[in-house]
């Protein structure tokens, strides 16, 4: 074999490692770079338990993580047992709903948590090669798409003081072939870049000791790729290559919802949503927008069609102009929200904790409810949008809604 066929053979792999998750895939928490937005068209509008469901697959246990979908694979995590110490990773055929494989781990970290959450709280992240599943216990496993265990790590075994008795939920992400693992907690806190092939640390950056449920974001700045991570201490940026902290924005602190990037503007949840401009050096100047009534609870805000949306723990759906912050509406619906709103095809999907999805018209400054769809089962995980369908995981099943 001469050198150039080898080089050509490497091209797809290189592309896969360098391109972000795009297109019809929904490979991580809130989809492509945690935007919560899909470019797909003809997404479903109405459904019920026995209507509009393409397939439904039973799940072995509860989870508040989101499903992720890459190619023809859908992945879900669950946790079970009296001590919530049974950790499940499942893979389904995204076309038919057939369960392809199911692997279990035994928790090696503490399993205490608030009753609303569980050990299957961080959303797994997937790419064409398979899935990386992190649990609130600090157990981290990489499976290929056929269920072969590529590697496994007990982060509590590696760093024994890790602890969060409320329950961890920040999700790992992939950035240019590295697995980014957020592990802010009351013990040894860190952000790590992990080699996807063997699971070893590429770098491990110290973080403040504090519980934090925020998922990292990725951005390009000055020829570098940065990992952004907010916490109660502020919003910090890390060089993806070295792990060195680049800058910190102390007013960008938060601990539960994750912000959202729109070009060079970062929308940060806090008291409502605040937008700041990012330059290569960090946050520039004063906030460019404040929407104080667009309040998030556990869910993260959504930037879509020139508006910012949020749902909260009191059942409110809020919407404001993304440039001016002018409130379009703040309307109360039945139930409360833990899942983040997601959007596509002109529709904003708001899933509440009892499994009711309120579909709101995006192309309107009025609160126009297009449909109210009830699955009748607990729904705390953020839905995924892929393959022209909406994937919702409840405490009992994974639903693929659409045609």
């Amino acid at each position: 074999m001469t050198w150039y066929p080898r080089l050509l053979a490497c091209v797809p792999l290189t592309l896969a490692l360098t391109l972000p998750l795009i297109g019809a895939d929904w490979g991580q928490f809130k989809g492509p770079n945690a935007t919560g937005v899909s470019d797909e068209k003809a997404l479903p509008l109405t459904w019920a338990k026995d209507q509009g469901v393409k397939w439904k697959a039973p799940l072995p246990a509860r989870g508040v993580s989101s499903p992720v979908v890459v190619g023809d694979r859908a992945y879900v995590t669950c946790s079970s047992g009296k001590r919530d110490d049974r950790l499940h990773v499942l893979c389904f055929d995204a076309v038919t709903g057939k369960q392809l494989w199911h692997r279990q781990l035994t928790a090696t970290g503490g399993t205490a948590c608030h009753p609303k959450t569980c050990m299957a709280a961080p959303t797994p992240v997937a790419d064409e090669s398979g899935v990386y599943a992190l649990f609130a216990t600090g157990d981290l496993a990489a499976f290929d798409m056929d269920g072969t265990l590529r590697w496994y790590r007990s982060l509590v075994g590696d760093y024994p003081t890790i602890t969060n008795q409320v329950g961890m939920a920040a999700s790992p992400i992939l950035a240019k072939g590295r697995l980014i693992v957020p592990m802010d907690n009351e013990g040894e806190s860190f952000l790590a870049a992990v080699d996807t092939r063997y699971g070893t640390n590429v770098w491990k950056a110290d973080r403040p000791k504090a519980v934090n449920w925020v998922t990292p974001l990725v951005r390009e700045a000055g020829g570098k790729t940065e990992i952004l991570l907010a916490s109660p201490s502020g919003l910090a940026a890390y060089d993806l290559t070295t792990g060195e902290k680049q800058w910190i924005f102390k007013d960008g602190g938060g601990s539960i919802p994750t912000g959202v990037l729109g070009g060079d503007t970062l929308y940060l949840p806090g008291v409502g949503v605040t937008a700041v401009k990012l330059t290569d050096a960090g946050v520039a100047g004063e906030p460019v927008m404040k929407a104080k009534d667009v309040k998030s609870g556990y869910g993260s805000p959504l930037l879509y069609a020139g508006k910012v949306y949020a749902t909260d723990g009191n059942g409110f759906i809020s919407c404001a102009d993304a440039k001016t912050g002018k409130l379009h509406y703040r309307e109360r619906t039945k139930g409360v929200y833990s899942a983040s709103p997601v959007a596509g095809d002109g529709k904003v999907y708001c899933l509440n904790e009892t499994g009711v999805t309120t579909v709101v018209k995006a192309d309107s400054t009025e609160f126009e409810v297009l449909a109210t769809n009830d699955l009748g089962e607990e729904g705390l995980g953020t839905p995924a949008i892929a393959r022209g369908c909406v994937f919702i995981r409840t405490d009992k099943a994974l639903y693929c809604i659409g045609k």
């Binding site: 047992g81 035994t106 590529r150």
Partner: protein, 403 residues
């Protein structure tokens, strides 16, 4: 026979002997793979060799199932999860190929309590999936099982049976079942059932809570570093000694007891409400012989657990919930008197839910059950008096130290 012929003959004999003595190639591959997996190191450092070993093991299929289950016995928690997922993959492949698992061998494995509790549970689940009659056949034998989940399932099944039985005849069986119970919810359910049958039992004695303590404090938590600061009572042996306490006050050991059925000790009540503080609780347990033990502590505060001056455990986390048995110190009680010391630290959070300063502690075996030959040594009129662990104090002893 010539010398040369003899040598040739002996040579063949030697070769045949080696071939017969050596394990079959597949068996050898399995053994090598298991050895490699069990060598897994911290931070994924051997994942490059463990991953291929996992694939080799799984490729061996059914013949590798029992050896893999058996290998969990002496595997560290990280290796155990590598092995656990291999069992999943092997069993799944066998099911997909419509090949039954070796039921007789699995059942023998489950029944042999010398095998690792987690491996036995896994074997039980594989067996039960294939043989629906297995739970009815096996669960009655698991009432006193070292595996908490097998024990729990067995107790649940027996409790369900007794609930439907004649209360008069069920009473002795309920008392026996209470002795086997370990999980709080099952203990509470059995206490209620026994109460309905006219039998009063002590929850505190059942769990072997330490209910009699000498307390000293509060001590100043300088810069909030109480957990890492070592205060004089850690080394003190004289109960009459006094120490410089918080705010310059002189503090000394005072006896306190609790009648709480879960052994709760409210330090705010006993020592006075104090923030940014540390306190020590000291109990003496007499063991008839050297006894491996677990000292299990629940507290919403940061804690350290000492046995006979040796620190067994520490955890710095505040006000993230209070769970029975959340912290465990592993130690060995020596024959005779043993000093158990619990350090409980309070931080300076002002939230209303962050004012609690309390703990509970018990001494038990690995299943959470009582250890034979233990008494708590309590001073009465200056004289040591042996009491059962969890024994309720005399009413006037609860606030004895306040006198």
């Amino acid at each position: 026979m010539t010398r040369g012929n003899r040598a040739a003959r002996y040579g063949w004999v030697a070769v045949v002997g080696v071939v017969l003595a050596a394990p079959a190639p597949a068996e050898d591959d399995i053994t090598r793979a298991l050895t490699t997996i069990k060598s897994v190191d911290r931070e994924g450092k051997k994942n490059d060799s463990v991953g291929p070993a996992w694939r080799t093991l799984v490729a061996e299929g059914g013949p590798a199932l029992l050896p893999t289950l058996a290998a969990i016995d002496d595997a560290n928690p990280t290796a155990a999860n590598w092995l656990r997922t291999a069992v999943d993959a092997i069993a799944e492949a066998e099911a997909n190929a419509s090949r039954p698992l070796p039921a007789t061998k699995l059942e023998a494995f489950v029944k042999d309590t010398k095998n690792a509790p987690s491996a036995r549970q896994l074997a039980y689940e594989l067996l039960s999936k294939q043989d629906k009659s297995a739970p009815d056949r096996l669960l009655p034998g698991f009432l006193n099982d070292p595996n908490p989940d097998l024990r729990r399932d067995a107790i649940a099944a027996e409790l369900d049976r007794l609930t439907k039985a004649d209360p008069a005849t069920a009473k002795p069986a309920l008392e026996r079942l209470f002795g086997f119970s370990r999980d709080k919810d099952q203990v509470d359910a059995l206490v209620k059932k026994l109460g309905e049958a006219g039998v009063q039992v002590s929850v505190a004695e059942h769990f072997a809570f330490l209910t009699h303590w000498h307390l000293v404090g509060p001590f100043e938590s300088e810069k909030g570093k109480a957990l890492i600061l070592s205060y004089p009572p850690e080394m003190a042996t004289d109960l009459a000694a006094t120490f410089p306490g918080k705010g310059g006050a002189k503090v000394g050991w005072k006896p306190y007891s609790t009648a709480d059925k879960y052994g709760q000790m409210d330090l705010n009540k006993f020592l006075g409400k104090s923030m940014n503080a540390a306190a020590y609780a000291r109990a003496v347990v007499n063991a008839e012989s050297e006894t491996p033990c677990q000292i299990r502590v629940g507290s919403p505060n940061a804690v350290q657990i000492f046995l006979n001056g040796k620190k067994l455990f520490e955890r710095e986390e505040y006000h993230h919930g209070m769970n029975l048995d959340h912290h465990t110190g592993l130690g060995v009680l020596r024959k005779g008197e043993n000093v158990i010391l619990i350090k409980v630290c309070q931080n300076n959070q002002t939230d209303s839910w962050a004012q609690t300063w309390s703990f509970q502690a018990r001494v038990c075996d690995a299943t959470g059950g009582p250890l034979p030959g233990l008494t708590q040594v309590v001073l009465r009129g200056g004289q040591p008096v042996p009491l059962k662990l969890g024994e309720s104090p005399e009413p006037d002893a609860i606030l004895e130290g306040k006198k």
